[in-house]
Symmetry: C2
Subunit: 269 residues, 2 copies
């Protein structure tokens, strides 16, 4: 089921700026029994991303109600896309215009089922992310780098690709954020130059603080991962997963993934 601007519809205007320029933002989240998971965090991130692009974010209650309307009875995925609406030809953003608002649901992918393995295999991507501080962290609709990076492999045994920026710093997964543990402390890349700062990442950072785990966010190089005790990826659909293999490097479980995944789902805020 898809709602476009509150109406049941599976199409948008061919003149939409989301299509013309990728001029918009999106969210992918889990729903359970018709209710969105981590809603407060997802709405806060959506509002922040809208603010960064000077988009008018829809009000929280109305948007939440739409997510509930599309959500299936059991476990499912909801996606929210907000664009700058239709506009005249040309890059100049129209002033004071309401967003195009797309809310849709999709079945939970098999890799997100509770029975899916906690361990995943990953690879290094060849593509290097460009550094654009004006867009860094935002989950916007300009995702060609992710598409090109994901096109680098079709081996179903590889779950995720790991990306560096053009300076050689590690940034994260194609569809996830990256964390690792070294000497009992948590490390995750700074995303002020590129990458998407996801809701699961933010929740994991809060969870680490609650657990008293010292956290480092900074410019981190690939060698640091190879020296880690345990490497993890996370996003709102899969939670925390342990990276068992990254190309030729393997790790044995050290127990952190379960601890952090449990903490990720605690609703204590």
């Amino acid at each position: 089921m898809i709602f476009v601007n509150g109406q049941c519809s599976d199409t948008v205007s061919a003149l939409d700026r989301g299509l013309a320029y990728g001029d918009g933002v999106f969210r992918t989240l889990r729903t359970h029994a018709g209710q969105p998971l981590w809603w407060r965090d997802h709405y806060a991130k959506l509002a922040a991303d809208c603010a960064a692009l000077l988009l008018a974010c829809p009000d929280e209650a109305g948007l939440r109600a739409e997510v509930c309307r599309v959500a299936a009875a059991g476990e499912s995925i909801a996606k929210i896309v907000l664009t700058r609406g239709t506009g005249a030809r040309g890059y100049a953003p129209p002033q004071g215009q309401a967003c195009t608002r797309i809310v849709l649901s999709a079945p939970l992918p098999s890799h997100a089922h509770p029975s899916a393995p906690v361990d995943i295999n990953a690879r290094w991507c060849t593509l290097r992310l460009a550094r654009q501080p004006r867009l860094a962290g935002i989950k916007h609709l300009n995702r060609l780098e992710n598409v090109l990076a994901r096109a680098e492999w079709d081996d179903p045994a590889i779950f995720e690709g790991v990306l560096c920026d053009d300076s050689g710093a590690v940034i994260g997964g194609v569809m996830s954020n990256l964390f690792w543990i070294k000497d009992g402390e948590l490390f995750t890349p700074d995303l002020s130059q590129c990458g998407v700062a996801g809701v699961a990442r933010m929740r994991l950072l809060r969870a680490a603080a609650r657990l008293g785990i010292h956290t480092h966010i900074g410019r981190l190089l690939p060698d640091a991962i190879l020296a880690a005790e345990e490497v993890m990826i996370c996003n709102s659909v899969i939670g925390v997963r342990r990276v068992a293999r990254l190309d030729d490097v393997t790790w044995t479980p050290a127990g952190w993934t379960t601890t952090l995944n449990n903490a990720l789902y605690e609703d204590v805020d």
Copy 2:
């Protein structure tokens, strides 16, 4: 009038990858008496951009026929958008799928009428373009940088903004390519790291070669523009225009714009 996959329609699927990820390319061109201008160059560029993103480009004759069908009787603009079609959730590009093909026409904007002034005013943009060699030169649908740069001004007396990359090199206009003349030679920025290598730029380079004007394509800094004799922008809609003012710097006409604009429209290839 809008054709979507050959059918008269003003909507596309809400699941289109052009909307979800900006996963596609586009062209904007002029039509005259129902025929596309510079068609061979536009199709060649479209095919090259498709190849760079592993998109299946529609065949030339069929696409040209669609442009002719949407084109108005007099002078108008046609836009072609090609996306990777609809797809399952996730960045992985579906294999062997036909593009979504959108062909539409729009009235010629007033600034593109033959009576519009040849001289324009420009400004330096604050935004710095990120360098991504995998996407550089391609007219793809990830255009948030252009949207943000164009949002930097709303003074209608300013026609164009000039952009540098994050290393400080000049790249071009928000919606145009940039050229200048110094000591009788032509200079234009290298676009191997970012920017869009437009059809008008390519035609202008060929025209300069025919005219025996020595041309430099390279990493060029803002100071070089300030020392130029004549500064120009070009694109397929406006042809060549003279930059009369760039923020506080002004130039008096040296005659190059008319010469190069006339050569741009010569159909000698």
